[in-house]
Amino acid sequence: MANVPEDLHYSKDHEWVRVDGDQAIIGITDYAQNSLGDVVYVELPKAGEEFGANEPFGSVESVKAVSEVFTPIAGTVVKINEALADEPEIVNSDPYGQGWMIRVKMSNPGEVDSLLTAAEYEDFTKAEAE
């Protein structure tokens, strides 16, 4: 069973959002990393880039496939996880911790309330797996 931490917000594209004041940290879920398999490459934007909600901000590649990753909420990138350039496999081993992808300054902090809760996301992945 995939790990779904209680304190995060989730998107139907399998990203998670951790709110930190007016900023948010974004990564992909345990369910997503497990479906992808071994992550071998992560492409991230540069600090300063601006994204609307549900826009692709980068991609995650396994041996077999490329998947885009989307911003669940609008914001401006303040920091990216540089460590993923050399150790993309952290996305597999620690998707909610060291495997985070970008930190954004939220354009509209209220937007997180439109995302899925942990319980809702868990139901969503169960339905998707069936």
């Binding site: 071994d38 490459y41 077999k64």
Partner: protein, 350 residues
């Protein structure tokens, strides 16, 4: 699971593609390739008939030998690539790709004219398991009385594998030593489990079941063409560097004249291997950019788990196809540097 030519095939098993790939290089991997098609050709003219349809020289085979070859079109392009097994002078088995079995069958039948042969599509009768890797021989030895150390590369012997009647062939698609085992389809599961047991599956050095993704990365590192990617009905054997299976002086065969002409005139484009020198992974169908011009396409692109590089095959104009040529790959709108390198990318130590 994915649909692969109508077969439900696992892309990977729980260990994951990278581990499956590395285990096959270091120890052993087991692949269920029962989806491959088998077509039997029996009769007095079996050799002459298959020789007229394929580019390599079937007449060179002795009983118990196998050969890599291609069914060619009249323009020298590829209907399919295949293995021909000579069971006897009047009995050949053609092992073809899954997705092309129907097409191959129609092509072979429609080109059957005067020869004394009977054709039979026996694909559903056989399972095929490929046991590949340096430990393949020691694992298989536990399960059979057949002196498999005497089965040389590209030869085969009938025999029984732990009570299952089989044909043991020293062939493969991974760049490693190994065997492809053909057995009655109904015994596939038993054979699969017995090989895994004999190979200590579950131990860190034991045999691992491997899926389609590892089969693809292994064959790519080993520089082997995949039908539908490097070769198809738009690419000639010479363009695909398969001149070594074009025996132009063996007598007439379908596509011979076109291939002879192309050999004389020289090919205009060529299949090349490349390695990414910039950060990025080339994927199938990405465009090749040379000197700012879009001049070719990637036929297979992937990370190479053993080499720890990102590699691929592409077609490039022959004037830009030399080893060392700097090229770029358009990776979803971003031009990433790459360089043409020698193939095979990986060659096992003897």
């Amino acid at each position: 699971m994915v649909d692969f030519g109508g077969w439900d095939m696992p892309v990977q098993y729980p260990a994951g593609t990278i581990e499956e790939h590395l285990r096959t290089r270091a120890h052993a991997g087991l692949f269920d390739v029962s989806h491959m098609g088998e077509i039997e050709v029996r009769g007095r003219d079996a050799i002459a008939f298959v020789n007229r349809l394929t580019s390599n020289d079937v007449a060179k085979l002795a009983d118990g030998q196998a050969q890599y070859t291609a069914l060619t079109t009249h323009t020298g392009t590829v209907v399919d690539d295949l293995l021909v097994y000579r069971i006897a002078g009047d009995h050949l088995l053609l092992v073809v790709n899954a997705g092309t079995t129907e097409k191959d069958w129609e092509w072979i039948e429609s080109n059957h004219t005067g020869e004394m042969v009977q054709l039979k599509n026996v694909s559903a009768d056989y399972c095929q398991l490929a046991l590949q890797g340096p430990d393949a021989e020691s694992i298989l030895r536990k399960l059979t009385e057949v002196p498999i150390q005497d089965i040389r590369y590209y030869t085969f012997r009938p025999g029984s594998v732990d009570g299952v009647r089989a044909v043991i062939s020293r062939t493969g698609y991974t760049g490693e030593d190994g065997f492809e085992i053909y057995a009655p389809a109904a015994r596939a599961e038993k054979l699969w489990n017995q090989i895994l047991d004999a190979g200590n599956t579950g131990s860190p050095t034991g045999v691992l079941p491997c899926g389609l993704a590892a089969r693809n990365t292994l064959r790519l590192e080993a520089g082997l063409a995949l039908y539908g990617h490097e070769i198809d009905e738009t690419t000639t054997l010479l363009e695909a560097n398969l001149g070594w299976i074009c025996k132009l002086d063996k007598g007439d065969f379908i596509g011979r004249d076109a291939l002879a002409r192309q050999k004389e005139e020289g090919v205009k484009r060529k299949l090349v291997g490349f390695e990414m020198t910039g950060r990025g992974i080339a994927r199938d169908d990405h465009e090749v950019v040379i000197g700012g011009q879009r001049l070719g396409k990637v036929t297979s692109g992937s990370p190479a788990p053993f080499l720890k590089k990102n590699i691929g095959f592409a077609y490039a104009p022959v004037e830009f196809a030399a080893v060392g040529q700097e090229i770029q790959i358009d990776v979803r709108g971003r031009l990433v540097d790459a360089q043409i390198v020698k193939t095979p990318f990986y060659k096992r130590a003897k």
